[in-house]
Symmetry: C4
Subunit: 124 residues, 4 copies
C-alpha cells in the first residue's frame, strides 16, 4: 500500500450543536475527525483549534498507530474545555507523517439527524 | 502553524431556502461560508456573487483577523438585498492572504433539517 | 475576477431517487450539477453519462453565459430518457473554457429530505 | 472523453450503522464506493480496509469494465465478514488504471434518513 496523504490539513467548518435527541453517545450531536494513516511509522498529530475571537489553542494531540485509522470525536476534547459547544471553531491538523483527514458532523438536535462530511483541505 | 490555503475560492452551489421551521436564527435555513486564516496578517476577503441571469455583484467584503476563523452567514447579505432568497447563485472569494474556505447549508424547510457541506474549489 | 476552474470534471456518484414526498418541483427528489463560469467567454459544456452496463451517452449539452452560474437539474435530462431514474449513473463534464462544478442531490423519498453535495473531481 | 482520475484513493471515514428503518435493501443503512472509469481498459481495483486496532485487510477486489461506473455497497463485503458493522473503518482503493472515487453513506437509523458524500483524497 502506498503512503498516502499530506502532513497538514485545515477544516474551516467546526460547530458542535449544543443539544441532541436519541440514545446517548451513539446519537449525541458530535463532530469527528477521521484520520487514515497508511504509513509504517506511528503518526503523531497535533490538533490546533482556531476561534473567531481569540488566539488558537494547540494542546490537543492524537496518535495513530502504523497502518491504522483513528476516528476522534471532538466532543471528548470539548469535555476538557478545549472545544466550545454551540460555538464556531475551525481546526488545523499537523502530522509528522502523511495522513488523510476527513471531517464529519452528526447533528441530532431534531429527531431527524443530519450528517455532513467533507474531505479536508490539504497542504504540506 | 503553517500558513495554509489559497487566495481564490469558487463555490458553484448557492441556494438559501425561502422557508424554515424550528427556532429562529439557530434553525433558520441558511448558507454559511466558513473561512479559516492561519496567516499572521489580517485577511481581507472580497465576496463576488454570480447569478444565472445577470452580471456578478461584488460589493460584499469580510475581514478575518490574524489566526482566526470567520463563519459568515450569507443570510445577512441577503437582508441587504445582495443575496437572493429561494434562487440560484454562486460565489467567488478572493483574499489578499491565503485562507481555507468551506461552504455549508442548513435546510430546515421541513422539521427534519438537512445539512450539506463541501470544501470549495481553489485556485491562485 | 480570475478565470477559475478546470475544463474536465468527473462525478462518480449519480442516483435520482424514484419517489418523492412534499410539494412538486421544489421538493422533488433530484440531482443538480452546479456550474460556475468566471470566464468572459460563453462556456459550452458537454455532459457525458456513464452507466454500469452500457456505453456512455454523450448527447447532453449546457451553455453557461459569460460570468454566470447554471444549476442544471439532471431530472430534465431524465424526462428525455437520457438519465435513468432509480438507477446508478455517473457523469463527466467537458467545457471549452474553465468552469467549477459541484454536484448536489436532494433525496425526499421520506418526509425528512436529505441532502448531499461534493465538489467534483477535476482534471485538464 | 479524457481518461480521468488517479490510481490511488483514500477514504478515512467508514462506518455502516448497525440498524435501519424503512424498506429493506433500498433504505438499508449502507456505505457505497462509487467508481468511475473513463479508461478504455478494464479497471482492476483492490480495496484495502483499515481499522483502529488491527492490521489492514486487503482481500476485496472490484472490476470496472471500460467506460463504466460501479457503485459497490460495502454492505456486501460486510456479509462476508470483511467490513465491520457499527464500527469504525477506513478504505484505500488502488486501481491499475486511473479512476475517480466518491464515497457515500445512507444512514437510516431513524425514519428520517441522512446522507453524506465526499470526493475522496487522491494520490498517485
Amino acid at each position: 500500500m502506498e503512503h498516502l496523504g499530506r502532513r497538514t490539513w485545515g477544516v474551516p467548518e467546526g460547530f458542535i450543536p449544543a443539544s441532541s435527541t436519541g440514545p446517548e453517545v451513539e446519537m449525541t450531536s458530535h463532530e469527528t475527525t477521521c484520520i487514515l494513516s497508511t504509513s509504517d511509522a506511528e503518526a503523531h498529530v497535533q490538533i490546533a483549534l482556531s476561534f473567531p475571537d481569540r488566539e488558537p489553542a494547540g494542546h490537543c494531540a492524537a496518535t495513530v498507530p502504523a497502518r491504522r485509522t483513528l476516528h476522534q470525536r471532538f466532543n471528548g476534547l470539548a469535555e476538557e474545555g478545549q472545544v466550545p459547544i454551540g460555538a464556531d471553531y475551525a481546526s488545523v491538523l499537523v502530522s509528522d507523517v502523511p495522513v488523510v483527514v476527513q471531517h464529519t458532523r452528526l447533528d441530532s438536535r431534531r429527531p431527524a439527524n443530519a450528517l455532513l462530511s467533507t474531505i479536508s483541505c490539504f497542504a504540506g
